[in-house]
Subunit: 286 residues, 6 copies
């Protein structure tokens, strides 16, 4: 079963809210390359797992971590929508900030349906679709599905990194890119155990993104989210010890803990028509 | 962020596997009335929450609990698919067990795509759709969406209860029906705080299901899944103290712990073509 | 069975066409909070209704009214698309009006697929989805689904109201917001009959929208669309008499009649490539 | 705007309920060839219509009629699900009637989600999709979309006619098949006005279905659902006078009236868990 | 079975890349009026064809041609995305070219998911949906589905023609518009063989587009893509000889050959994070 | 551009039609693991390809081959639906063959919508979805998507092989399984060129299927579908020469030719209501 605390896995800061970037971030939440997909994919593979138990455990460990990534990205979307004014665009089109933001590429449903919050949809507002969740009953096929998901996922994250110059957003993405590096290696480690050849230097995908830009603390780190399990010496779990499969790091293991703080969103925007009790009580402790 | 352990929130036993019932259970996993929907709905509402913080906390507490419900149901599906032979049907149609089971109402994708595992889809194989996740930015609207989700969810669970005579399945459903009773009351408690009238005896919906059949230990119990938070005396959290909103119980609070065991699935079926390493290593400890 | 006349339920005027606003209006037509959903939801609930007949009748009455709302909004979309020029944007980007409008947030399919007409889709062009139509067989569950639909629907309408400063559009939305107030109260009245507690001051949702801005003639008025039935003294129909459930009005009943005129759209835009016979015969009487 | 009465356009009788046939009927409700599609398609084409007004009027007339067809088919589904016992199947598989019915091809969601009522979905439970609603802004393109919809729709209805030997269902389908004959001719009449060649003997599609089996009273009859408009001598409306476009009948016009009665469904099934108040008050007048 | 060569059916040139136009072109690839739909529709109709063999052959001939249309349009999208800078918009908003382009109406997934390539989706990023592929088993119904598809398809192409002033794009669209003229006539020719009336001057739809603007070489030309079949004198194949059904041309037949060249895309954009080996080896021969 | 001939890539025989198996085969046509997906995925990757040209060529070669697989499977579906009588089931339920077949697990839309033909949908009738088509702009990510697609695709094919005892169907599936073996190796060969480690014995996935059962002529054979290109000595194309990546075969190359015959379907079933001209002219040469 599952537990949570109130903090984020990694800090999420937005210096200059940007509703167009909020829309782009949705791809990493509800798109086919996004975190809901990998979260459900690893959890379903774990729940359906038959055969050696250590694979089930690992799948649930990482599936659980991915929930925290959806949380980080949803927080980032909400923060990017605060004061959805679109700055320069406003001045040009001389309309209300939200109309201006829509004209400047904002997803109109972020306001109309979400009241300036994140949605379970992609960057075009197309809803998340459960057909993307692959759990085939064959461990090797599943691992390829997972490497593929983390490859397109890391690719997406590097492109998002390119789209923003907000230092908080770049820092958050550097963390997520690093986790994708680890997860690519992690699934390849299972394939190695199943008879795959040695080090595959094609990873991390994409290899054209300067790896120095990813978070160096967590890029070869297995995060153990099981509250009952102590990180062990690794035993026969390839993904916690030795040289990483891409040959570029050393696997390590760590008991999960939050590197981020409790997220604090601003009060509801007046034009979002939250309930009055939300407006008056906003940000109060209780 | 999020954590897990290896045990189930409540025990899941299947005495006589029934692939037709596995198909029906999918509605409670990936259908519009199902657990993926409420899980993501409460989590997104929590992540997007603006205004008094105690609502955010509660939404994340219960959203986290719902992941454990998906886990229980997925385990139940996998167990119901073991030996997918369809019993009586086999004798009649004289075919392979799986063909017989498909002719007897099994979802063919449970075998073809899932290798006898659960999917993120409904009882007709229609994939889960993110459009069902409502997070509107207005607390009262969200609470009505939640009462509605738990009403149709409990209705679905009572119908599943009716469909099976497997004692393990009935016991699991009695637990889930009780949790839906609590969750209906919980969202109504927020509405009460927002100005809603007094006790609403229309609940739990459906009121025609004998409430004695639901699990009496957990039907008015708030489950606190936050690993850092001790259950308090309730303070201003209506859903942890006093008479329940339906007037039929007393609210209580409990720190989350697993009432179930570590689930154990059988080895892969030969005809599911798992990887050889899964077949030989099945059920080994490592 | 069903009938129509050529007039609108309420008048639809657009002083300054705005294709970006046309896109936003689509959410109220084909989105999950939109009118196609409530229309089909109430009609299916009515057609499937088992038990006291007066609920079936009421559901069909209001389901029929909702068709007229789709009609009003579709007319509003078509009028907002006339001369889709995007004004200020044009001057900036120096392109054809329609390209400019697309760059300014217009839905490109309004031109490409619809020839400047409305579609059965949401503000992002995601098609209406029948899974949103809830008819559960349990009257109380259905009523919560309906309160929820009218709560998110009214919330959407207040946000649309905020997005426009066109007096015609504001007037139309004030009418629709008022109808949502009534419909929230109407479904609550059924819940009261089923045992719900007394007056629930949480309504109309959102309560932060100044209720003075909604149309005061129709906000507590039951509209009887049955051509055979005279409004009665109410008998045991709670939604036609007494104080409204939100305590803010008095229920009344009225035989349906059009408050609007026969809608008149402009001739087809040349660049929409209507058939020649449409261009030459446009706006002729026959 | 729109009105209704409590009667059906044509009578709907089910002598021997058949849940497998209920599932098949869903294709005619929520499938791509079904009535929700043509209903919304004609209404949207009418609302978006630019050019000669008589086409707008006719589209709304027939779009309104189609709502009555959804109503008839939904009633037929509900009646076919009553006592969903599956007869012969029960005896064979020795299970509960509903499990037996699911094994015998029933849609499990008819019970699980609908409580034995119709849904906005096709024969496989795939939801109705708004993308099927074609309204292009070009009258000739729209008319071809309509001929195509009525051709596949009539084809579907003849196949449903073939699937059942229930006299009530055959009678209802003979009515719907006849209306599709008329509607094919009606859209072709517009095409004739737009310059199409003369009589096209390829219709009604399919031409292999014995036309004597369709209802002979209504197969070349234009049904005027406008409560304000008297059927006229036809003037320049080709679809109300002269030889039909398929050369097999004479066009006529009639003011809409119900040929069917007020539908009466049975009380809720005990195992559907309707609200108690539905069970006790079932079939009462109020 | 199927074959290809490296050249395009017709030349595709883009003088001034325009990411907003790339988005619009997606409607012609993955939209309901688009080429994937007609391609699969004709192929499935061919594969499922029962009855006279010459219809099967023709359906496969034209279904095969449509693959080449998807190829042309995908190439056009990729070329329009090269240097996705959005020109004027950049200067205004002072951001990175891609952010500027998103604010100017670009589909963000063209960058985020596609790395500046085409997708199997419509102009709003809504994925292609297999439900649009009509193959009914009735030849006449199928032919109407095909005339309808080519009518809305040609309408879409004329609107795209209107949206661009790039001479290369206009030339490509003039070719595709001409092919749609032929295909409308082709399916009508089958209907004529099945008993349809004579010349139908309503075509090509839309008739308001100056037919002189379409490519005059190919607008009444049957393209035989069967590598084994020589164009014959026509025999009983109406669509290869005689006056076209719209009365505006003479049917001819030709053995398929590429009128275009091998397409050459530019190297990957640096910010798309292609694999390093793509960047260094770009445009090399091997 | 693209060409075809009238023959199948490999022979398709059905000795005993089985509509339940036809339903299962749909997963391999329109499911996420199916042939439409890989066909469009490889073609889009080819059309969007930037960088070394030989990858573009190979992607188009194999994408073109996959069209022939859809053709084979569609033909297999049509043949399995002929005489959809369900044999044993009929005797039991004493109904019409098609009703019996629906009760025995047939997809009802195979009759209702398709007239006993294949559809662009999966085994539950859920339509093919364009979101599954991955073309990321990064060659390595795309190759992992392709290995994953061929792994789940081969897994599906082995499960279909298990479900049938029709020798014709087993022979066809042995061919398709062998092609999936080759295609897994082919994409791995590209990864090897990009820096991947050596031989990966984990393939072909699933490794528990006896490889002796797959067609031994074509399991390591690159099929060159380019009508202009002669198979060369391989040059720098790893997938045409040397030991296969799984170490179990030798790569070879062959110019594409049909191993199957022209498919011949039976005449339309009377109850499918094909057009009369199809019935009378069935199986005639012209």
């Amino acid at each position: 079963m599952f537990y949570h605390d109130k903090k984020l896995q990694y800090k999420v800061r937005v210096e200059k809210p940007n509703p167009t970037f909020a829309r782009a971030l949705q791809q990493a939440i509800g798109g086919i390359e996004g975190e809901i997909r990998v979260c459900l994919q690893y959890l379903f593979q774990g729940w359906n797992s038959r055969g050696p138990v250590r694979y089930k455990d690992m799948l649930l460990d990482t599936g659980t971590e991915e929930i925290a990534h959806i949380e980080m990205l949803s927080t980032a979307v909400a923060l990017n929508l605060e004061g959805a004014s679109g700055g320069i665009v406003d001045e040009i089109v001389g309309q209300s900030p939200i109309v201006g933001a829509i004209m400047g590429g904002m997803d109109p449903r972020h306001y109309l349906s979400g009241g300036l919050g994140a949605m379970a949809a992609d960057a075009n507002g197309v809803p998340f679709n459960g057909s993307w969740v692959v759990s085939s009953g064959n461990l090797a096929a599943d691992m390829y599905a997972n490497v593929m998901a983390e490859s397109t996922g890391r690719l997406l994250a590097t492109r998002l990194y390119e789209l923003t110059d907000d230092p908080g957003m770049k820092d958050m993405l550097a963390f997520l890119i690093a986790r994708d590096t680890m997860h690519q290696n992690q699934w390849l480690a299972v394939l190695e155990e199943l008879g795959h050849g040695d080090i595959t230097k094609v990873h991390p995908i994409p290899n054209s993104f300067p790896q120095a830009n990813e978070n160096q603390e967590v890029n070869y780190l297995f995060v153990n989210t099981n509250i009952d399990a102590e990180p062990s010496a690794g035993e026969n779990r390839r993904w916690t010890q030795g040289t990483s499969i891409d040959g570029k790091g050393q696997f390590q293991e760590e008991k999960a803990f939050p590197r981020g703080d409790v997220p604090v969103l601003g009060p509801p925007a007046k034009e979002g028509y939250a309930q009055t009790e939300q407006l008056t009580g906003a940000n109060s402790k209780s």
